[in-house]
């Protein structure tokens, strides 16, 4: 039966109005369903604090630039590092920004033209916090330093260029995520290429990124139409490519990740139920998009990123900041993946709790995986410490014990209190934190901060501090059986809350 023509030819504006109203209701209800008041207040305070920092930087940038680049005027500094700033902001955007594709799906069966749907969701996606918070710095900076600059012939064009760059960054993210959704391998290749290029550009003194940035923005400031046109063309191309990509993806939907070849492995039967549960956990990581990305990104951090950080002799000169390196070098996976240790099981949690699987066995298997990840990441990153910063090798050793003993316990404590489901990959986007609640980000405070604060307190005697951390970790490892019983008891007590939360599905 044909759809009545009056329905498919609904006006463009009519569709926009209908979709806007519907999306507003969804956003409102989603906000009401979100976190508790404590989390809301903490997140609110953090946002106000960040806004304050950006505004202060924008209004008083000369004071900061005088400290760091005394020979340069503020405008030259910003022009020179503008591209680098956008690349840094792009990482945040890539990790957190929501993409419109999943929002479109529920409307596809309705008599609304697909071109209207694409236009609406591409436009409405621009109303993202990632496109507004940079303006908290750029608008005051433009008011104080650009408008007042005697070198500037076209101040407004400079601001327009910044807005174009924000827009470009927005659509590059949508495009990249859509491409990566189909070809995940590209992500790792891009990460490696980017790291190596940035490493060479930074250490060899070429400064290519700075030269391009300065050429573009100093040129635009002087009224350079060529430079502005270059930016404008890039923006237009990226917007068009992202729109075409979105249209294609909804016309040829890929409903699920295709697994063409299943690789498997066995564990000896003598390892018993715990061995089977460890196998289950490893298969979960390997066969599901999201957990797999967490695993691979942890590997990248402990190798490529660490290479970048350790080779920079100026960075991390003190033990307090180096504690962060030690923490993430061997504990990156535990910190990132571990806090959702039971959330990853949300889709099949009932399969576990209705079978003859004691909670103790489940906890033990998960602790083995987390502790094992610390050892694997430690071994992988050890050569980098020995090669670039041998003075930090004892710190790396100390943090192996700390991470395996304490970090794993802290993340398990949080994981066993989590009742929010996680979509492990059937419909979730490419690696990012979309769908993770703000609560999970706050969890980094109790898990990552204690050893850094401890090393800060011990800054006059760092050696003793490291011995302390390693000792705490070692004692905790020896108490693994006690922790296992403790978590099993907690899981039993919270069993029904977790089942109820997990059954609601991922948001």
């Amino acid at each position: 039966m044909r759809t009545p023509s009056h329905m498919t030819s609904s006006t463009f504006l009519g569709s926009f109005g209908l979709l806007a109203k519907n999306q507003y209701k969804i956003a409102l209800r989603s906000m009401q369903m979100q976190q508790g008041w404590f989390v809301r207040i903490v997140i609110g305070l953090m946002m106000v604090y960040s806004a304050f920092i950006l505004l202060t930087l924008g209004f008083f940038f000369d004071r900061f630039s005088e400290e760091l680049w005394p020979s340069l005027d503020p405008l030259t500094v910003v022009n020179r590092y503008l591209l680098a700033m956008f690349v840094s902001m792009f990482f945040v955007r890539f990790l957190f920004q929501k993409t419109p594709k999943l929002k479109i799906i529920p409307y596809l069966h309705l008599p609304i033209r697909r071109s209207s749907l694409v236009a609406f969701f591409q436009t409405s996606s621009l109303f993202s916090i990632h496109n507004f918070y940079p303006l908290l710095f750029f608008i005051p900076f433009w008011m104080i330093y650009v408008r007042e600059s005697p070198l500037a012939d076209n101040q407004n064009m400079w601001l327009a260029a910044v807005v174009l760059l924000i827009g470009t960054s927005h659509f590059v993210n949508l495009l990249l995520r859509a491409v990566l959704q189909r070809k995940a391998g590209v992500f790792y290749a891009l990460m490696i290429v980017f790291m190596v290029t940035a490493f060479i550009d930074e250490t060899s003194g070429i400064g290519l990124q700075q030269r391009i940035s300065e050429y573009l923005f100093t040129g635009i400031l002087s009224g350079g139409l060529v430079e502005f046109s270059l930016l404008f063309c890039t923006f237009s191309l990226v917007t068009a490519a992202s729109t075409i990509q979105l249209t294609r993806s909804i016309n040829n939907p890929e409903t699920r990740e295709e697994v063409t070849r299943v690789t498997t492995f066995a564990v000896p039967e003598s390892w018993g139920l715990v061995g089977q549960l460890v196998r289950l956990e490893l298969l979960l990581m390997w066969r599901n998009r999201r957990p797999r990305h967490y695993m691979l990104v942890s590997l990248l951090f402990s190798t490529m990123y660490l290479l970048f950080m350790l080779s920079n002799a100026k960075a991390f000169s003190g033990y307090t900041m180096a504690a962060l390196l030690g923490l993430f070098a061997s504990g990156g996976f535990a910190l990132n993946y571990g806090q959702l240790m039971f959330g990853w099981d949300s889709e099949h949690y009932t399969a576990l709790v209705t079978r003859n699987i004691p909670f103790k066995a489940l906890v033990k298997a998960k602790l083995i995986v987390l502790q094992g990840s610390c050892v694997v990441l430690f071994v992988l990153s050890l050569p980098l410490f020995i090669w670039f910063r041998p003075e930090f090798v004892p710190l790396h050793f100390a943090f192996l014990f700390y991470n395996a003993g304490i970090t794993t316990i802290l993340v398990m404590e949080l994981a066993s209190r989590n009742s929010q489901a996680v979509d492990i990959g059937k419909s979730g986007g490419f690696f990012n934190y979309e769908g993770f609640s703000a609560k999970h980000w706050l969890w980094f405070i109790p898990t990552a901060l204690p050893p850094v604060l401890f090393m800060l307190a011990m800054h006059s005697r760092p050696g003793l501090g490291l011995i302390g951390l390693a000792t705490f970790g070692f004692i905790s490892i020896m108490l693994t059986d006690m922790w296992t019983k403790y978590f099993a008891k907690g899981l039993q007590a919270r069993k029904h809350t977790m089942i109820e939360g997990f059954s609601k599905g991922a948001n």
Binding site: Q276, T354, H496, I499
Partner: protein
């Protein structure tokens, strides 16, 4: 094996989803749980598997309360929906895992599965295909098989015949009847298919609006009685 519900009430908000003053089932009984949508069948089964906690009352298996003793899990096989599967595993991996949870070696698991070859030919399944890529019917077969092959004392199934092709329905019916007669397995089977339930179950518990409306032995007249009940319920809701 004895299961007892004592003054059990489960509420969702202010709505009473299930209220059972007293109910029990003895070893070897095969019970069909029937009722309209929203009558409380799934709530009943979820309470029995300790996936929900009653607001009042207690549920005991072999005299031990579910709330304090998890030993029932070692003697129970169940399948309510796809969340009972681990969908990123292949069929053999999942069944081996279920076997391991009952303490079976791999060899013993496959020996037991061989008895169900006519229902799901485990020797011929694609061992590289994940459960999440299976059709609803095939996924259901795997779930039912996982509940049955360890020959537990208690089997709990929700709508086992739905989504199965007719030959599989007939085979499943035979398997359930055999389990009851040979193994004396206690079974609780929720279903909308009154015909199949009549053939398999010796006792019918009819739920209506969260309460037990009938609890009867299956007899030649039962089907007519149930049809009359549902017809009157249908006409009451229409008016």
């Amino acid at each position: 094996m004895r299961i007892e519900f004592d003054k059990v009430e489960k509420r969702f908000g202010s709505k009473v989803a299930l209220s059972i003053p007293a109910w029990s089932i003895e070893s070897g009984e095969v019970l069909g749980l029937v009722g309209s949508n929203g009558a409380g069948k799934t709530t009943f089964l979820r309470l029995l598997l300790d996936l929900l906690r009653p607001n009042t009352g207690s549920i005991k298996i072999n005299g031990r309360s579910l709330a304090v003793d998890a030993s029932w899990r070692g003697i129970t096989g169940s399948f309510l929906d796809r969340s009972f599967l681990i969908e990123y595993l292949t069929i053999p991996e999942y069944l081996e895992f279920v076997g391991a949870s009952f303490g079976f070696s791999k060899k013993e698991t496959y020996e037991r599965l061989a008895h169900f070859e006519s229902f799901l030919p485990i020797s011929r399944v694609d061992s590289t295909r994940l459960l999440r890529d299976l059709s609803t019917g095939n996924a259901k077969k795997v779930g039912i098989l996982a509940a049955l092959f360890p020959t537990p004392e208690l089997v709990v199934l929700d709508e086992p015949f739905a989504n199965l092709d007719p030959p599989s329905q007939i085979r499943l019916k035979d398997i359930l009847i055999r389990a009851a007669q040979v193994e004396h397995t206690t079974m609780i089977i929720s279903s909308h298919d009154l015909g199949h339930v009549m053939e398999v179950c010796g006792r019918i518990t009819l739920l209506a609006e969260g309460k037990i409306s009938r609890d009867i032995e299956t007899s030649p007249e039962t089907l007519a009685e149930l049809n009359t009940f549902f017809a009157s319920e249908e006409s009451a809701s229409a008016t």
